[in-house]
């Protein structure tokens, strides 16, 4: 009989439970959940503010999930220390929770760089958790001016979520373009223009040097008056517990293809980890919900004694603003790095597909995103370009560009 403990109660924790239960239906599972809620869909907090979902519908699994899976959830409990020699997790009050197999699914935390005068800003919010969104919602008024620091995924989805509920939204970022971690200059400029058409203002290449009451003084000299501040600069993997216990960490907790950490009987999954990205052939933090799900399941199966591997992690994002959709995946290698870029660009669409060494490594799409998953699978499966009619495939993602045999396997067989 095992004694499973999971630190965290996000998507990775849920799929870890599902992974364990696919092998071991008996042994007890305890979840240590810092937040007071059953697992909800974090990326949906902006859709909640936009009115596209409700707190009830945002739950990740149905109400009976924990009970059906014989899971004990301890809400509002924070793990303080891991003792790997005695196989114990210590809580803040000193209570010991013993484990035989442990999974760290502790997620990430907002990172807010020091900004002069920030502590005196009264209405300031983060935008990561459901409680963050509910607190922000309380402060929204039709005449409020909002300043969002950070033009990444979190900052911009926040902007879309509160658009129409406030008077104005200004977004600033130190980077010269929006969504700088997933977009190139061309795509960023297109999406920025689209957001500006909807009334969002940008201050890029710029940063707050000081808050003076309800005015942000920018490095450029610009002054931005605001009523509400949202700090969405970035997130950092929660590695503290593992680092303190002597486990191997870089920017995230280092895991192998089995989602095992460097410590015996300790696994990790989700945004707190640094896993293998097959498009660069090295580890990196891939803080994405699909990867959290797949890592969690893999960790769970291994914890329960069934050999499983997750070795198909890639960066990928599907993100839309005000009806204009974008999808990105993989890595965009430059010409100097041996990459080749196929490009289509017109008023409505942008398509850039990157290939290297006879494989697709990444793509950016804006506008027409239909059937993009065929490209994503090319990257994930490392499908050699010689096995398809690539000239046609780059124009149109279709199985007409694959062999008749391949089509027969997919549409005439079980996949």
């Amino acid at each position: 009989m095992e004694q499973y403990v999971i630190i965290g109660n996000g998507v990775a924790a849920v799929s870890c439970i599902e992974g364990i239960r696919s092998v071991d239906t008996e042994s007890p599972i305890t979840v240590l959940a810092a937040e007071p809620h059953p697992t909800y869909c974090r990326p949906l907090i902006s859709y909640y503010l936009e009115g596209k979902t409700t707190v009830e519908r945002m739950v990740y699994r149905k109400k009976s999930f924990y009970e059906e899976n014989h899971v004990t959830v301890r809400y509002g409990v924070t793990a303080h220390k891991i003792e790997i020699h005695t196989h114990e997790v210590f809580l803040e009050d000193g209570e010991s929770v013993p484990y035989t197999k442990l999974c760290i699914a502790a997620g990430s935390s907002p990172f807010v760089p020091p900004m002069k005068g920030l502590e005196k800003v009264e209405k300031q919010f983060r935008f990561q958790t459901l409680d963050d969104a509910l607190a922000l919602e309380q402060a929204l008024t039709p005449d409020a001016k909002v300043l969002i620091v950070g033009a990444g995924l979190i900052g911009l989805k926040c902007a879309e979520g509160i658009h129409g509920r406030v008077a104005s939204i200004t977004v600033c970022d130190l980077a010269p373009r929006i969504l700088s971690s997933i977009f190139d200059d061309l795509c960023a400029a297109r999406m920025q223009a689209h957001l500006e058409q909807h009334g969002i203002s940008f201050l890029l290449n710029d940063t707050v040097t000081e808050f003076k009451g309800q005015t942000a003084v920018m490095k450029s000299g610009a002054k931005v008056d605001f009523d509400i501040l949202v700090a969405a600069v970035g997130v950092r993997a929660n590695i503290g517990l593992v680092k303190a216990a002597g486990g191997n960490c870089n920017r995230g907790i280092v895991v192998d293809a089995r989602c095992a950490t460097s410590m015996p009987d300790v696994y990790a999954a989700g945004d707190c980890t640094e896993g293998y990205d097959l498009t660069i052939g090295a580890n990196r933090v891939l803080a994405l919900l699909p990867n959290a799900n797949m890592q969690g399941y893999c960790a769970g199966q291994n914890m329960a004694g069934k050999a499983a591997a997750f070795d198909k992690g890639i960066p990928m994002n599907s993100i839309g603003f005000f009806g204009l959709h974008a999808m990105t995946a993989g890595t965009y290698f430059s010409e100097q790095e041996g990459g080749v870029c196929y490009e289509e660009c017109d008023d409505k669409h942008i398509k850039r597909i990157y290939t290297k060494d006879d494989h697709m490594t990444g793509f950016l799409l804006i506008g027409d995103v239909e059937k993009a998953g065929i490209y994503t699978a090319m990257i994930r499966n490392r499908t050699p370009l010689y096995s398809v009619t690539y000239d046609a495939l780059q124009k149109d993602p279709s199985f007409a560009s694959f062999s008749a045999e391949k089509r027969g396997q997919i549409f005439g067989g079980v996949v």
Binding site: Y60, P290, M294, V369, F399, A404
Partner: protein, 149 residues
């Protein structure tokens, strides 16, 4: 939930005429309307099966109800599930239209409906057709509904 034994829709491309009737039958079956002309005439249709063609090749694409579906794992709203009967279903009430399923479906078999909510083939089990409408109406029996694998 890993289920492989189930009836699925299969397409034999050698018999597919490329007539697109499956698309119309699908859109009608899922329209909830009693009359095909009322349901489809003059409208852009959003079928859950799509005929692809390129020169001599024509074949129809719909959800494969994968044994290990990546759309289920990737859905950021927890809106897609593979149920005990093996059918992969989208809870359209939970879907927020983020299109992550479009980004990951290896077969290009998921797409938005006219309201931006995701939809795909659910084997006509939840409409009044009783069996997949694409299969029922295929004039050359290129599309079949059976258990394989």
């Amino acid at each position: 939930m890993q289920v492989s034994k189930m009836k699925r829709v299969y397409v034999n491309e050698q018999w597919c005429l490329g007539c697109h009737l499956c698309e119309y039958n699908c859109a009608f079956a899922n329209s909830g309307k009693p009359d095909m002309a009322v349901a489809l005439k003059g409208k852009i249709i959003y079928p859950r099966i799509r005929v692809e063609q390129d020169g001599q090749i024509t074949y129809a694409v719909n959800c494969r109800h994968c044994t290990d579906p990546i759309c289920v794992k990737s859905c950021i709203a927890g809106a897609i599930s593979k149920d005990a009967d093996g059918v992969v279903r989208i809870d359209q009430e939970k879907c927020v239209g983020c299109m992550t399923c479009v980004l990951v479906c290896p077969y290009g078999a998921v797409a938005p409906n006219e309201n931006g909510v995701m939809q795909k083939c659910e084997l006509c089990l939840q409409n009044s057709c009783g069996e997949p409408a694409c299969v029922k109406g295929c004039p050359n029996r290129a599309i079949v509904y059976e258990e394989r694998g």
